[in-house]
């Protein structure tokens, strides 16, 4: 590689770099494709060399792709092209004739902007080990609690009361009743480090702020109050 680059280096050592445009002034440089050098990202290099027949060792006139036979799609690389997820999501939404109102989680930037995976640990009081789950795999609280029930069902003979949806947090009596009835309830730690009951905020908000899950005895969970009643409460 160094040999073929010598011309370029010599030019650079001296005076003005002249722009070597094809057909223009300036020495014509060989442009040797050094595809093999780019070993750092194996996947993309392999794909490129395999799928695009025109990527041979020396430069040829590159014809635009034959429209009748588009090249197979490359694997998408993270963060490329550099367009923010929010923008991509808004435009994608615009393309659906606004008649199609939203699949959950697709509207807006909430899920888009946090498109990287976030695993959370799930622990259960009395179980010998932790589990890890990917919250974005679930679309609703019901799905989540079904999954948790399956995961930890073998550790409990008691009554694992799954929240079917949002708790009616405005009714404290109902809440206490629920906690007393269940042997186990799900709780989670949010971004601020507070422990909350699973189910008291909208789903999107939950998956964005949940850091970790803990299934605890219902009686222990009585002290947790719903978020909306706590945050900024009493601050006028």
């Amino acid at each position: 590689m160094e040999g073929s680059r010598k011309g370029a280096v010599d030019m650079l050592a001296g005076d003005e770099l002249s722009l070597g445009l094809p057909g223009g002034d300036g020495a014509k440089l060989d442009f040797v494709r050094t595809g093999g050098k780019r070993g750092f990202s194996e996947t993309e290099v392999d794909l490129k060399l395999d799928l695009n027949g025109k990527e041979s060792s020396s430069v040829e006139k590159v014809r635009p792709a034959d429209p009748a036979k588009p090249p197979p799609a490359k694997a998408q690389v993270v963060g490329w092209p550099p367009v923010r997820s929010y923008r991509k999501n808004v435009i994608a939404n615009n393309n659906k004739n606004s008649s199609g109102q939203d699949q959950a989680g697709e509207k807006g930037g909430l899920s888009g902007a946090t498109s990287s995976l976030t695993f959370v640990k799930v622990s259960m009081d009395g179980a010998p080990y932790l589990r890890k789950i990917e919250l974005k795999m679930y679309k609703t609280y019901k799905e989540l609690s079904d999954a948790l029930g399956k995961m930890f069902g073998s550790f409990t003979t008691g009554n694992y009361e799954a929240h079917q949806g949002m708790i009616d947090f405005m009714n404290e009596n109902k809440l206490k009743d629920l906690l007393n009835r269940s042997d186990y309830v799900s709780t989670y730690e949010d971004k601020d480090g507070d422990w909350m009951l699973v189910g008291d905020v909208p789903w999107e908000m939950f998956i964005a702020s949940c850091k970790r899950l803990r299934i605890m005895k219902g009686s222990e969970a009585i002290g947790l109050a719903p978020r909306a009643m706590e945050k900024c409460k009493g601050r006028g």
């Binding site: 430069v59 963060g79 923010r84 808004v90 615009n94």
Partner: protein, 627 residues
């Protein structure tokens, strides 16, 4: 246009104006600033002059200096003044009212508040830009919490906070609202971590709130109706920008707010606001200068018996409108309503609107005074040709991709770029996404647009050569750095060899920000840049074959930089450790993409390094290792 809107190519025109982007931090480690003198309990206080009939001559000079320094507003000038001597350092610190922190980890909040006791306005920037593209793992840091906690006590009279790429919680916003009774301006750009509760706290408690701007900021909807939380009666609001907030809006409350905000000049609505609702707002606020139209459509099909509103005359009544954006769910049949105001427009942002060539041409033909245009590439080369024909005064152009993928047919190409270069000679800033490009067109732009300050070309296919000649894009970018003598920001793409970097190092003497992706052949490339570009401040590189040798060639310069980002390059831990040893005031962070994994001893996923006076930060998550 007011002074704040005076066009500056480095400003993001559709984000709120920040102070000029000078890249001097107040507390650079090199040369180290003179340490603050021990706080004197001396007779030489301000009141001294009043007590003694003939003040000590030193004091006279200090008083004069204080008065004179009030006139210094530019950050760089103030920094220079502070280095003259201790007395100037002290006086400058007392009179500085605007503080700019380019990297929140470069200095601790306590240090800032100790040195500058009388600050009214703060700008703090956090994450590096590549974090916007998911290249940085979540929860890296940049928390506003420590700042608001410290400033809450030190700056009770704080009026303005501008944050970019910071994380803040509802609690932080509550604390802000509680601590600063005279708070006026809150500007959050690319921030996240809080919800509508936090906004409600600000709205309800900051009685003198003038500016509430949320741009590209993620706001969680936690059910709180924050628009209703503004106090009753007239407000001081001049700017209310929430076009990125993805949550339902209580329209009646919004309407009432607009009606009782007589000073309101800038209003940018989110896409929950339909065109019918927009109409109602516009007729009540015809003196707006900046408008974000929200959806500019409506979700439900209209009953054909409903009388169609006269949108056209509503908009034409807005004689002061100079900046138009929104169109988040545009229904193109409504676009003619804005034709009448197009002649006044200086800025137009259609970058969320998928409109076709013909409709775009009908619109743009009226926009003869346009200086800033953001569009989607759905307007095609033909649309750009129409821009070139009409917008002779264009200073800034951004062309975003409708379909942000590689290996698809792109509607814009070198044809559009060439046309723009020929029709818009005053162009200063361009961001252009495309699927194919030629050196010739880029060279043409370098010749036709000598005023270019920002040149960002994104050829979306990685390693794409000139699609006509098959050559690398070296010559095109070389021409840009050679011919555009004012260039300070450059983003390169396409097939690029070390030669492109040689050009940049040789000619890019004013370049401050450089973005590199999938480019170069060897360490030599990066060496050219690090050795050749004395003004380089921000260097972000991804997926390029640069290794330790290249990294070490920049040791002489890293203290002068805001940051260096290198991800998925060929760095090893040993190389990074060597840098950390050689430069103790540099924070060298290694980030790992695999959560909770032991870091492989050799490869480095992400290197992020920046100068810092405060030493390694204590809030780094598990995947960050600070050398």
């Amino acid at each position: 246009m007011s002074e704040n809107d005076r066009h500056h190519p480095q400003q993001n025109h559709f984000c709120p104006a920040e102070t000029m982007s000078e890249d001097e931090d107040p507390c650079r480690p090199s040369p180290p600033p003179p340490p603050p003198p021990p706080e004197p309990v001396s007779k030489k206080t301000r009141n001294c002059a009043a007590v003694h009939p003939s003040p000590h001559s030193d004091r006279v000079l200090e008083i004069v200096l204080e008065h004179v320094l009030q006139f210094l507003t530019v950050r760089r000038d103030r920094n220079a003044a502070s280095l003259v001597c201790k007395s100037w350092y002290r006086t400058e610190a007392l009179t500085r009212s605007d503080v700019f922190i380019g990297n929140c980890y470069s200095v601790s909040p306590a240090r800032v508040t100790t040195r500058f006791p009388r600050v009214r306005s703060v700008v703090i920037k956090g994450r590096p830009r590549f974090a916007d593209f998911n290249l940085m793992p979540q929860n890296w840091g940049a928390h506003f919490g420590p700042w608001v906690a410290t400033m809450g006590k030190a700056y009770p009279l704080l009026e303005r906070v501008y944050l970019k790429r910071m994380s803040l919680t509802d609690r932080d916003l509550c604390l802000l609202a509680d601590s600063f009774t005279k708070f006026k301006d809150l500007v959050l750009v690319c921030c996240e971590g809080f919800g509508t509760s936090g906004l409600a706290a600000v709205a309800s408690k900051c009685r003198q709130l003038r500016v509430l701007d949320l741009s590209d900021t993620e706001v969680l909807y936690d059910g709180v109706d924050w628009i209703s939380c503004f106090p009753e009666g007239e407000t001081c609001l001049e700017s209310l920008i929430f076009d990125c907030v993805e949550c339902p809006i209580n329209f009646e409350a919004l309407e009432s707010l607009v009606v009782r905000s007589p000073a309101l000049k800038k209003l940018r609505l989110n896409r929950e606001v339909s065109i019918g609702q927009l109409y109602r707002l516009v007729v009540r606020a015809p003196s707006l200068t900046h408008l974000g139209t929200g959806a500019f459509g409506h979700p439900e099909p209209q009953d054909p018996n409903d009388q169609e509103m006269d949108y056209g005359s509503a908009f034409s009544a807005c004689k002061s409108l100079v900046c138009l954006s929104g169109f988040r769910e545009v229904m193109p049949e409504y676009l003619p309503a804005i034709h009448s105001i197009c002649t006044n427009l200086m800025s137009l942002n259609l970058s969320y609107a998928n409109i076709g060539v013909e409709q775009f041409k009908l619109l743009i033909q009226h926009c003869c005074r346009l200086q800033v245009l953001w569009v989607l590439d759905s307007v095609c080369d033909e649309g750009l040709q129409a821009v070139a024909a009409t917008c002779r005064d264009l200073r800034e152009l951004r062309v975003f991709p409708l379909n942000a993928q590689e290996d698809v047919e792109g509607p814009v190409s070198e044809v559009g770029l060439q046309a723009i270069s020929e029709g818009c000679p005053k162009l200063e800033s361009i961001l252009y996404f495309c699927q194919r490009m030629t050196n010739a067109a880029v060279v043409a732009m370098s010749n036709n647009c000598p005023d270019l300050v920002v040149f960002r070309l994104c050829i979306m296919g990685r390693h794409q050569p000139d699609h006509i000649t098959g050559a690398p894009m070296d010559e095109g970018f070389g021409a840009i750095v050679m011919n555009c003598k004012k260039l300070t920001r450059l983003a390169i793409s396409g097939l690029l060899t070390d030669r492109a970097f040689a050009y940049i190092g040789r000619y890019g003497k004013l370049v401050r920000t450089l973005s590199v992706a999938f480019a170069g052949d060897s360490d030599t490339g990066l060496k050219y840049v690090l050795e050749g570009c004395p003004k380089l401040q921000k260097l972000e590189i991804r997926d390029s074959p640069f290794g330790d040798a290249a990294l070490l060639s920049g040791l002489h310069h890293y203290y002068n930089m805001r940051f260096l980002w290198m991800s998925t390059c060929q760095l090893s831990q040993r190389g990074c450790e060597e840098v950390a040893r050689a430069l103790p005031r540099l924070a060298v962070e290694l980030l790992s993409y695999e959560e909770n994994e032991e870091m492989d001893n050799e490869t480095v996923d992400v290197l992020y390094m920046y100068r810092s006076l405060q030493g390694p930060r204590d809030d780094a998550p598990q995947f960050v290792r600070i050398l």
